[in-house]
Amino acid sequence: MNSLFSNPELLRYARAQLRPTKLLVTGLICALLSVTLAFAALHQPYGITSAAAQLLRTVIVLQVLILALGGGIACLNAVFPEKEQNTFDYQRITRLSSAELALGKLFGAPIFMYFVCLCLMPLAIYAAFFAHADPLFVLAAYVALFVASLTFHTFCLLLSLLAIKGSQVTGILLALLLFAVVSNQSDGMYFRVHSFGPLQAYELATQHSGAYSLTDILLGHSVHHFPVLLVVDTCFILWFLLAVVRNIKRDPRSYEVFSPLQFLGFALFLNLLLVAFYNFSWTNLSLGVHSLLFFFEFIIFFLLGVALLHNREHVRTLLHSSGVQSSRLWNSLWPAPVLALGAVTASAMVVIALAFSRLDPSRSDITFAALRSLIFVLFLVSDLQLLQLLNLRPGNHPLVTAIVYLALYYFCASIILTALGCFREQARIPVASLFVPSAVFQLNASAWTTAPHIWLAGIFLQLLLIATLCHFQSRRIATLLHQPAPTPATPTPIPAAS
């Protein structure tokens, strides 16, 4: 493997983006901006120290915008526009390994943004000096800025690789933005951890060792946020990079984000983060303390499970490449075994964490936590199995249609069950559990004793549904095995090799 600095892809980006004239102009603009801001800071009425501290924060925010956002956009454009031309195909057939190509794009696409960031460094050092900032924290801030930006870049590169159209990338980014806004509303309530994003550099730069306030609660212990950020972001970088490297030289129609084992690893890693930073002392009497954890677990496995689904072409290739009979059974059950194994393990983590969380026993009944997790797992598997079956239908965007069908079902079922008072009246809660997983939030000793046979019927119904879906999937796969008639023999004899 080439060293990073002799990576041909990195060199290509450097040649294209770092032409001397462009560098000179950029350098002059940054110098002008720096001198202006420094001059303004020197002439603030409220003292040079606080003005310089403000300037340092401003510069870091600017650098975050340039490196994280600008670099992210550059990484988003690193693959899919090249797919539309054939330049990406040319790269795929060279001897460059997947890792070299991925790293070349990861560090090459935003190379100009790195340069602009460097141009602003003299101003940042000037501001830090006059602000009497702790050099260690300033250094930590820049390490955090780099690592968190790199995480974002790797994620954007993965999106760019997996997306077929620019509109898909925009859609995913908007969804993530929405998620970020919504999750900020509950900052610190569910999870006792600070953000892993690049803006943490802003907070870090102005910390002092005497009054350090950036701490997280990891499994009940207070820890500094900086090492947590480093470890978590590095893990995310490695996971995203693994997905990019795994797929970057593949036929785009055969993309598979992770192998089943890697999928399990990533899902469990996310669940471990949830459990590790979960605020077990959070009180909401209407829900069990662990219900929310199960809900997050359900969301994680659902989202990752969608990425695990196979399309028709993938199934066809799998059937032919690994022997029709041996892979037919496995494909008929897909993705149930992997999802079930992952979700059961993640649920076990939650139950164990609960057992060790030293909560009031009345708020954390382990038996019901285990039962609740079983029902969640069954709903998860049946939903994903349904999506897999529908994804094997011919037609336009079968997966999108399948998700719409499923969402429509849950929307209508929830409205009807609410209208019938199934979530309100104790006696009717078990009935609701036959149709929607949300009823399980209210599973407790009194709900169970009201009608245990209905809860058991709900579990049996889900098992029956999964078996039925697998059966239909098997029949669907049989139709994919139809072979066209062999081509007629060519009339002209084909000569032997010379």
């Binding site: 080439n2 002799s6 041909p8 892809e9 060199l11 290509r12 040649r15 294209a16 031309q85 054939n86 330049t87 195909d89 040319y90 790269q91 795929r92 057939i93 060279t94 001897r95 460059l96 390994s97 030289k249 593949r250 036929d251 129609r253 055969s254 028709r312 072409e313 066809r316 290739t317 032919h320 490449s321 011919p394 037609g395 336009n396 139809h482 066209p484 062999p486 081509t487 007629p488 060519t490 009339p491 002209t492 004899p493 084909i494 000569p495 032997a496 090799a497 010379s498």
Partner: protein, 314 residues
């Protein structure tokens, strides 16, 4: 050089329950040192076949090997032997010509000591030496196509796979490209080419395959393919001066000359051997005909393709 065994590629057709079979159990053997032309209408599966050979697409079933290397099992090893040009201009416009070729030379991991020489050799081979320091964006379409070929040959692969290399080029650029391909062939390259301009293929190819709806209709040396399609040999004669009754003479020998534009010429189908044709010419001259020109004509590839694709000889 290239072997395809029962290669099938199936796609799902958007909005349709049926499956599109872009390649249907293709079995093919292309010997080394040939210029192999693949012709067929749009959607016949030509580009899909090419992409499967390069390893860019995965076949649904079947196997492909290049230079005895299995493309599915050892794609990187197989791709070492392949230079590929796609069916439309695909270049990095913000690089200079030498930077573009140098980038791919590095991607193919050429010996650093040989890198500069190989890059400049490849640029010279396609006749772009004068444009070495120009930006790719400033090149004409023909030049960009030649640059694409420089990229494809920079690692000196024994096999070149070219998808519609002459499309979009003006006549002069097409002639230059054909000359370039002949030169590369003489240099020992095996060339696999598709084109819609069938006359171009007829001029340069030694081997030919005709493909339709994912199936091969004909494969073989170009002369054999032409004959197997029922291509007729026609002979055109011209006399230097009047005084000899050419048409009755030919009719008396069992030929059916078409109505002549002038009495000094005749054109007729000829199904005999070369020796029969030599005897005919000798008899004609001995009979006192002032023969000044003889030209042999055969059906064009366009005509053969029309016949085959309309099912006339299937």
């Amino acid at each position: 050089m290239i072997q395809l065994h029962a290669v099938t590629k199936e796609y799902d057709q958007p909005g349709s329950p049926s499956t599109l079979v872009a390649a249907d159990h293709l079995t093919l053997h292309i010997p080394a040192g040939e210029i192999f032309g693949l012709i067929g209408p749009n959607g016949a599966g030509k580009s899909t076949t090419l992409k499967m050979i390069t390893g860019l697409l995965t076949p649904t079933s079947g196997s492909i090997s290049v230079n005895n290397v299995d493309v599915a099992r050892q794609p990187t090893e197989a791709q070492k032997h392949i230079g590929y040009l796609a069916d439309f201009f695909s270049v990095y416009g913000n690089l200079k010509v030498w930077e573009y070729v140098d980038h791919f030379a590095r991607c193919y991991k050429l010996d650093p000591a040989q890198l500069s020489t190989r890059v400049h050799d490849a640029i010279a081979q396609v006749g772009l030496t004068s444009k070495t320091d120009s930006f790719v964006d400033g090149l004409s379409r023909g030049m960009k196509q030649r640059l694409g070929i420089a990229r494809a040959i920079v690692h000196d692969p024994p096999l070149l796979i070219l998808d519609e290399p002459t499309s979009g080029l003006d006549p002069k650029a097409r002639v230059e490209l054909k000359d370039l391909l002949r030169r590369l062939h003489r240099g020992g390259k095996t060339i696999f080419i598709t084109s819609h301009v069938l006359s171009d293929l007829q001029e340069i190819c030694t081997f030919l395959a005709i493909m339709e709806k994912g199936k091969l209709l004909r494969v073989g040396p170009i002369a054999d393919v032409m004959r197997s399609g029922g291509a007729t040999r026609r002979v055109h004669l011209r006399l230097a001066a009047p005084g000899f009754d050419l048409h009755p003479w030919l009719a008396s020998r069992g030929f059916s000359p078409e109505p002549p534009p002038t009495h000094l010429s005749a054109e007729f189908p000829f199904s005999g051997s070369d020796a029969d044709l030599a005897a005919l010419i000798r008899d004609l001259v001995q009979a006192g005909a002032p023969l000044c020109s003889l030209e042999e004509k055969s059906d064009s590839l366009e005509a053969l393709f029309s016949k085959l694709s309309s099912g006339e000889v299937m």
